[in-house]
């Protein structure tokens, strides 16, 4: 299989690294707008499979030229470009995969999931597959939901819980992935599914302590707007409750609330002297770049899905999760645990496509895949998966 990985950031690096070792993939094209990044990536990973190309993710026609001749494109850029890249895949006849979706459209400048799902017919007609939101969360978290749901007679609740106890030396307000995305995600009114209905709640409200598996333990979590909540209640029938909680320290939340109250998280440019600048861009420019944090991030990250329902006639609450140590990941792969966890599932998805184990056409989210091979596959790629019974 010939794969093109678009975006040579931290996650793109993990995907290429994983694929460079898989026998199913004969060639990997790494494309980015910045040739320095692709060259550095090729040097870092080595081998003979990697080819570098320059590509501008905002232009369909230029993408089509770069995509042609590849079987599949993995979009490791930011959600803003999702539709452009999907369109280019259709024209270049490539399968498509991404790790996140944008929206809501009225607040962010990136397309919503519904706009991506609208490509279903076109991909089906072209005999192509488009796997959406195939990272760790969303991604592995959706697959965990399906895996546990398959083992229950009745599913009541699906709760995604993402916790990280890491600290970054010298920074009290650091993001392990794009600070712009983190700020945006935390400030959007989170979508929740309650009693069979979707609702939006207040951002950064509803504080709750969640006890993550050891060695993380209890962390303060907040409801956050996330992809899983949009599709799991639709695709896993009969559930009453679905939400996504992210562990955020009280100091981080207070800081973010203050910045929001001041108007410093707004995208809309303001006039400063004779210049115009977006306050959020200024804020982001002052925060550390996640790719520079590397060895300074210490602690564990845990992504998992809690599913509650009836199994063998009795009510059970199970949490299926994967955990990574940031420093270990940095030593082994040169990236944080967060980037590692995000890059592995798409690499597995590519290998399954290559082996013909994923044959579904059209656009779909990960809970529609067969979850059974996934725990083994994740383990084989260095991502252990555990299931814990909750009281």
């Amino acid at each position: 299989m010939r794969v093109l990985v678009l975006g040579a950031g931290a996650v793109g690096t993990v995907i290429v690294d994983q694929l460079s070792r898989s026998k199913e993939v004969e060639r990997i094209v790494v494309a980015d707008i910045d040739p320095k990044k692709t060259r550095a990536l090729k040097r870092k990973i080595g081998g003979t499979k990697i080819v570098t190309r320059k590509a501008d993710a905002s232009k369909v026609s230029s993408l089509v030229r770069v995509f042609k001749g590849n079987d599949m494109v993995v979009n490791a850029t930011i959600p803003r470009f999702n539709l452009v890249i999907m369109e280019a895949c259709l024209r270049a006849k490539c399968h498509y995969m991404d790790m996140a979706t944008g929206g809501p459209k009225d607040v962010t400048d990136s397309p919503e999931l519904a706009e991506q799902m609208a490509y279903d017919e076109k991909f089906k007609a072209a005999g192509l597959t488009a796997m959406l939101s195939m990272g760790v969360d969303p991604g592995a978290s959706n697959i965990f939901a399906r895996y546990l749901a398959n083992r229950m007679e009745r599913v009541d609740e699906i709760l995604i819980r993402d916790g990280d106890n890491s600290t970054v030396d010298g920074h009290s307000f650091a993001a392990l992935f794009s600070p712009a995305t983190l700020i945006e995600e935390c400030l959007l009114p989170p979508m929740v599914y309650r009693d069979g209905r979707f609702e939006r709640t207040e951002p950064l409200s509803s504080k709750e302590t969640y006890v993550f598996p050891q060695p993380i333990g209890p962390l303060t979590t907040f409801l956050v707007d996330h992809e899983e909540v949009e599709t799991l209640p639709v695709n896993i029938k009969g559930i009453k409750r679905c939400d996504f909680r992210y562990a955020l320290g009280q100091e981080f939340v207070d800081t973010l609330k203050t910045l929001r109250a001041l108007g410093l998280t707004k995208d809309k440019p303001v006039r400063v002297g004779n210049k115009r600048v977006s306050p959020k861009d200024v804020l982001v420019s002052l925060l550390p770049d996640p790719k520079d944090l590397g060895p300074r991030v210490k602690g564990y990250t845990c992504v998992g899905t809690e599913v509650a329902g009836i199994q063998d006639g009795r009510f059970r609450r199970l949490y299926m999760y994967t955990m990574a140590n940031h420093q270990e990941c940095y030593e082994k792969y040169g990236v944080t645990g967060t980037a590692f966890q995000t890059g592995v599932p798409p690499a597995i998805g590519v290998e399954m496509m290559a082996r013909g184990e994923i044959s579904r056409k059209g656009t779909f989210t990960p809970e529609l895949l067969d979850p059974e091979p996934w725990p083994e596959e994740l383990k084989r790629h260095g991502m252990p998966v555990e299931i814990m019974e909750l009281a």
Binding site: T258, L262, L264, V270, R271, K275, V277, P279, V282, S285
Partner: protein
Amino acid sequence: MKAMVLGTGAVGSVTAEVLAKSGEYDKVVLADVNLERARRTEKKISSDAVTVVKVDAADDAALAAAIKGVDIVLNAVIPRFNAAIMETCLKARVSYGDMAWDIATDRTRPGEIIKEVPATNFLKYDDAYRKAGITGMIGLGCDPGLSNLFARMAADRMDRVKEILVRDGDNGTVAGHHFAPLWSPETLIEEVLMPATVYTDGAFRKLPPFSGREMFEFPDPVGSLPIYNVDHEEQETLPTYIGKVLGKGCDYCDFKIALGGEYVEVINVLGKLGLASTKKVDVKGVKVSPRDVVSAVLPDPATLADRAKGACAIGTITKGVKDGKEVGYYIWTELDHEQCHKKYGYSATAYSVGVPFAIAAVLFAQGKVKQKGVFPPEMLDPEPFVKMLPKYGMNCVEKKL
């Protein structure tokens, strides 16, 4: 008499209006780099005494030409230009007044002793002004200004002064705003994040930001508010002038301002993230100072005056000894935001600074300020000054401790 009010922002406009209506000045020149702004003030005052001229305070030659024939220049622009304006006045033999000075120039770190307080940068013109036969009144607004005079009033009743504590409290809020400083946000951020000067044990020393938190009972309706040490002008001159020049002594002097919980949180966050920094950063090819961006997103204090509710109380506690007995006075002025705006069309913050500044100029015109040279407010006779406050709707209240 002819006065020039340099800078027609909120404070300059108040001062100009009081001067024009005082009957002591037959000419009040409004000078501003922005002629439109000067014209708006001229229109608001609507007095035959008022004229406008376009002057850039940063352009020494232009200023020198503009002040010919003027008796006193009242500097109401940002403090950055004070020294240059004082030089220009000296060369032209024109008296001078201002209501704040740049205290941010000192780089002494918390815990260390300050070698030379920033006030020296301006008081050093004393000899030259004396020789030229002109007067230079510095820091003559509300605080500094009235606060210094309140200390002097109390000190005049004592044989020896022990402590001078300046206390600035404001419970003003603006509906719909989480953080809306009624004073220049840049100045507020700077004042609060800078190590604060305190005079103790015979030296001017620096404290870390947010030091000395305590609750202070401001007079009603301001009430009890948390206060913190902040860097300010008063403590740079009072220990020297009340203590040494007037010979009353002074063991301790500080300035504390009331800061609500949200102010402390906001300023901490800005400091922590580098948003209070004036060092330019590159943001997608645009070079800006983060603090300027913060100011740009905050509401302009000028637009808040008509919506501010609450009151401010600015005063000084002076403790000492009289006839062998411990005595103490708390003397303050108080202003209601809404009433002030309704009555005078200015924010209480600007009004309380602009009025004392104008009173100093009125006293100067009346020949009641006889001193030559450069001096801080505590060197003026407080009695005629304070007597004039009620005429302009400001009060002076005192309580024996």
